[in-house]
């Protein structure tokens, strides 16, 4: 089967260029599992919550896909985040940063690397901050940082729990010190939730690195989960370590499974169990009745009060 993959891989960009067409990534027939490197039929994994049909490894997905499979009936409200500067230093290296931002915005139909949504997970309403690593590395700059604080404030105002799905290379170098300052800023956001007694859950999705790991990922009172044992979680990446001190890292290092053993991850929760386990934990923490995934329709009939009211009560 390999030759088919190779052929489509080679031909696709050429054909696209020929017809001057935008990338149609989600419509590819085949995809390659990053974990077991099996070639899998895209339609099959779509029906499997975007997990490999062979090894069950969750594949990287875009925020809106994440929202669709996380929230009840795939419905949610996307929140618009504050519009701030996307290029404060007028950055240019081998190419102009403005162009890159513009392209990424167009390609993903999102303003910056993070998307924000509010919706119900098994009737448990939550604010969800989700990152897209394909959007310029998912790096955190002024807007991603502001969106994080905005999400925390929104959760506090509406008395809702907060869930974040980081997926990032760390702080945005093109924003320099402005990016660095997002570290304390995001922790201030989490402190607001802490003061209000609202839970904050971080669900790591591969990879998480740099300043994000060293700020909100391990922020005050957060629960740190990962969707796979193989999820990459690190502060300094293997390249940085090699470059700085010449040390090679053993294989399997800086994975969620390894960090679980070292005491730096609370638990691995597979994507298939996100809805049930996250809503259960939130219900327990907020002292609410636990709703089973199956009887969402029943629950709707039994309960005359909306989840929003239950939480605010």
């Amino acid at each position: 089967m390999n030759w088919i993959k190779d052929l489509t891989k080679k031909l696709k960009p050429k054909l696209e260029n020929l017809f001057n067409k935008k990338s149609t990534l989600p419509d590819n027939l085949w995809t390659n599992c990053a974990s077991c490197s099996n070639i899998i039929y895209r339609e099959d994994i779509e029906n499997n919550l975007y997990c490999c049909t062979n090894c069950q490894e969750p594949q990287q997905i875009l925020p809106r896909k994440r929202f669709e499979i996380l929230f009840d009936e795939g419905t949610y409200e996307e929140l618009e985040t504050p519009r701030l500067s996307s290029d404060p230093l007028n950055w240019s290296d081998i190419s102009s940063y403005k162009d890159k931002v513009k392209k990424a915005r167009k390609k993903f139909n999102q303003r910056h690397a993070a998307l924000l949504a509010v919706g119900s997970i098994n009737k448990m309403q939550a604010v969800v901050y989700c990152m897209n690593q394909k959007f310029l590395g998912g790096s955190v700059g002024i807007e991603e940082g502001e969106a994080f604080v905005f999400a925390c404030k929104y959760a506090v105002e509406h008395n809702l729990p907060f869930i974040a799905f980081p997926q990032t290379g760390g702080q945005k170098m093109q924003h320099s010190a402005f990016a660095l300052m997002q570290m304390p800023k995001s922790i201030i956001g989490l402190q607001m939730l802490e003061e209000k007694g609202l839970p904050a859950i971080i669900m790591a999705t591969s990879p998480v690195a740099g300043g994000v790991t060293a700020s909100w990922f391990y922020g005050p009172s957060v629960f740190v989960f990962a969707e796979s044992e193989n999820t990459k979680i690190m502060f300094a990446g293997p390249g940085v370590i090699k470059r700085t001190i010449g040390e090679d890292l053993p294989s399997g290092f800086q994975t969620a499974g390894y960090l679980l053993k070292k005491g730096f991850v609370d638990r691995i929760i597979h994507r298939k169990n996100h809805r049930e386990e996250l809503s259960n934990l939130l219900s327990i923490l907020l002292n609410l009745e636990i709703k089973k995934a199956e009887d969402t329709t029943d629950a709707a009939e039994q309960n005359t009060v909306s989840p929003q009211q239950i939480i605010s009560a």
Binding site: D93, A177, F178, A179, M183, Y218, G219, M234, F264
Partner: protein
């Protein structure tokens, strides 16, 4: 004195003045030509001031990392009295990359936390070149909590290439330690004042610089990644460090302009390493004044001011700084290029068809 690559002229002038000051060895004269020495000295001062007034980001990086630049240890000895060093995180070990202890600043009790790079090979190894491990941050957290208990303000000296990247540091939770240190800084209801004395390297620096007042020495730098690191990632060429240093706007002057830091402390002529004692006096004056500005402020005010400051950084910039006109211009030029490209293809095809027809018939 170690001269930097842009100080060649100063090196020459310095050696000239040494000759003038040492006439017995060189010319056999028996008395000093004071007038000549004075003239030479004022020439050196003029040249030094010229060079140091126009340092770019990369030159400042070199000054900030100068091996003879005074380090935390020197400032602690020369600014505070009765320093009481305290060690250990009570969990794993003692990190000598950070000097910690309680002391008096004039009559005020303070907690001092100083990142120390070391000043010779031996001390640099002992201090791990100022790269803190998780234990170091945990020691600081322990002591900041004590400072909170005893109602003592905190002063931190920032001078690090970054937090230590390595297997041990990673598996003992470097990221967790930094996050908790930032969280702790934001929870202390006493004033925290940070002075970036050399290199403010990324997460390793912000962990102890989440402060009410961030002061920077005139030639210090502060950035999210080293210019070398940035160059090798974004330019894919480590030799582009100068460009990276410029683009990242890492100087005290840049950062004051961006309202990321609060104050610049003037350095002696030609940098702190040319007159460490004077640099210490300047820092001391600024620390005393800044601490005074907090007298009478409540714990809530101190906490709120610090949080508000960090929340507002970067939010006052206009949306899409400098973007729109430029972007639109780019957009239209590309669009017209695409249109032209299509026209060229059609024209080419017509010519081709025409040629074939002409050739066939």
């Amino acid at each position: 004195m170690q001269y930097l690559d842009f100080e060649k002229e100063l090196e020459q002038l310095d050696s000239n003045i040494e000759n003038l000051k040492n006439p017995f060895e060189n010319t056999g004269l028996s008395s000093l030509n004071n007038e000549e020495i004075q003239k030479a000295q004022s020439e050196i001062d003029k040249k030094t001031s010229e060079i140091y007034q126009s340092l770019d980001g990369w030159k400042k990086t070199k000054v900030a990392r100068h091996s003879e630049r005074p380090k935390s240890n020197f400032y602690i000895e020369n600014i505070f009295e009765h320093f009481q060093p305290i060690s250990g995180d009570r969990l794993f070990g003692e990190d000598e990359a950070i000097i910690a202890g309680f002391a008096k600043l004039e009559s005020q009790s303070v907690l001092v936390l100083g990142q120390e790079k070391g000043r010779d090979t031996e001390s640099r190894l002992k201090r791990n070149f100022g790269m803190m491990r998780p234990e170091g941050y945990r020691k600081c957290i322990r002591l900041m909590k004590l400072a909170e208990k005893f109602k003592i303000p905190v002063i931190t000296f920032i001078d690090t290439p970054g937090a230590y990247p390595g297997k041990g540091a990673e598996e003992r939770g470097q990221a967790e330690a930094i996050a908790k240190s930032i969280d702790c800084c934001l929870s202390v209801s006493q004033p925290i004042i940070s002075v970036v004395i050399g290199e403010g390297g990324s997460g390793g620096a912000i962990a102890l610089a989440t402060s009410n007042k961030v002061l920077m020495l005139e030639h210090a730098i502060y950035s999210v990644i080293s210019p070398e690191g940035c160059a090798s990632i974004l330019w894919k060429d480590a030799s582009k460090s100068k460009e990276a240093a410029e683009s990242m706007q890492i100087t005290a002057q840049n950062l004051l302009g961006h309202q990321i830091i609060d104050e610049i402390i003037q350095e002696p002529l030609g940098g702190a390493h040319r007159n460490p004692k004077e640099a210490a006096i300047h820092i001391k004056q600024s620390l005393v004044e800044n601490l005074k500005s907090f007298s009478g402020k409540s714990a809530d005010e101190i906490l709120k001011e610090r949080k508000d400051k960090f929340l507002s950084i970067g939010t006052k910039l206009p949306e899409e700084t400098n973007i729109f006109n430029h972007e639109n211009a780019m957009y239209f030029s590309r669009k017209s290029f695409i249109k032209n490209k299509k026209a060229f293809i059609i024209l080419g095809a017509l010519i081709l068809v025409g040629t074939i027809m002409w050739w066939l018939y």
